[in-house]
């Protein structure tokens, strides 16, 4: 049975989204695009195996490469979430910097 590209991409996204709920707006485009591309590659590998063009060992190697690529994409999404959180924290500190430092009389917030 042929793999559904849309089904795979949606399953991946469904797994990612709750984990990255806070930064989802910042990473969703990248996550959606890459999930779809990787699902297409997975379907391509499956087709090569089903048509007998590659054997199990070759399919396993390509699937392992695919798994590593997916991991890299998910790591990027996680990292972008951290970048976003870092920006938000620093923006918050920046907003209160003058008030706090002025009240305390020394630069607590650099």
């Amino acid at each position: 049975m042929a793999l559904s590209i849309q089904g795979i991409a949606e399953a991946v996204l469904a797994a990612i989204k709750p984990v990255l709920a806070k930064s989802w707006n910042d990473v969703q485009d990248f996550a959606k695009t890459e999930s779809t591309k990787l699902a297409q590659t997975l379907a391509n590998i499956e087709q090569l195996k089903l048509s007998g063009q590659i054997d199990e060992d070759q399919a396993r190697a390509l699937l392992d490469m695919q798994k590593q690529a997916m991991q890299s994409v998910l790591l990027a999404v996680e990292g972008i979430g951290l970048v976003t959180a870092q920006s938000a924290i620093n923006a918050g500190l920046g907003a209160i910097k003058g008030l706090v430092n002025g009240a305390l009389g020394f630069p607590l917030i650099a």
């Binding site: 890459e34 190697a61 690529a69 991991q71 890299s72 924290i89 917030i109």
Partner: protein
């Protein structure tokens, strides 16, 4: 108001754990050298894949110097990124890239690599390179 200041001080202490309160650092800053080296490595891998994308695939011996160079460049890149603080994510991405390239080379060395395998291999490697660069660029944009 006093409670507010206490709160701010506690937040600062949690964020930096040093006297004073600098910017929060949750992830390593942008590194131009890494950006350039990843881009250079991607070109080398693209070049390798272009030579492999034919029937018959060139024998392993002819491509071995290229594999060796790519492996060496990747090891240098990984070493640089290992010493960057709060940079575990990029190091894990580079490890994933290393495994992908190892899979490709193993297939080639064992005479299992055929032309139809090259496009999906390229797609996965492209996705990995893009993911590494995407994160580095996000750091750059955040800094600007």
């Amino acid at each position: 108001m006093h409670k507010f200041y206490v709160f701010v001080v506690r937040v600062c202490a949690l964020l930096v754990a040093i006297p004073g309160c600098g910017p929060a650092v949750l992830i390593s800053p942008y590194d131009e050298v890494t950006d350039q080296q990843v881009t250079g490595l991607q070109k080398s891998v693209d070049g390798l894949l272009a030579t492999l994308d034919r029937t018959p695939v060139p024998d392993y011996a002819s491509a071995k110097p290229t594999y060796d160079q790519i492996r060496s460049d990747l090891a240098s890149l990984r070493a640089r990124n290992t010493v960057r603080t709060k940079n575990q994510i990029t190091v894990q991405q580079l490890d994933a890239l290393q495994k992908e390239l190892q899979d490709l080379e193993d297939q080639h060395r064992n005479s299992k690599l055929i032309q139809v395998m090259v496009p999906p291999a390229r797609d996965t490697l492209d996705a990995t390179f893009l993911a590494i660069l995407k994160l580095e660029i996000a750091k750059k944009e955040q800094a600007n």
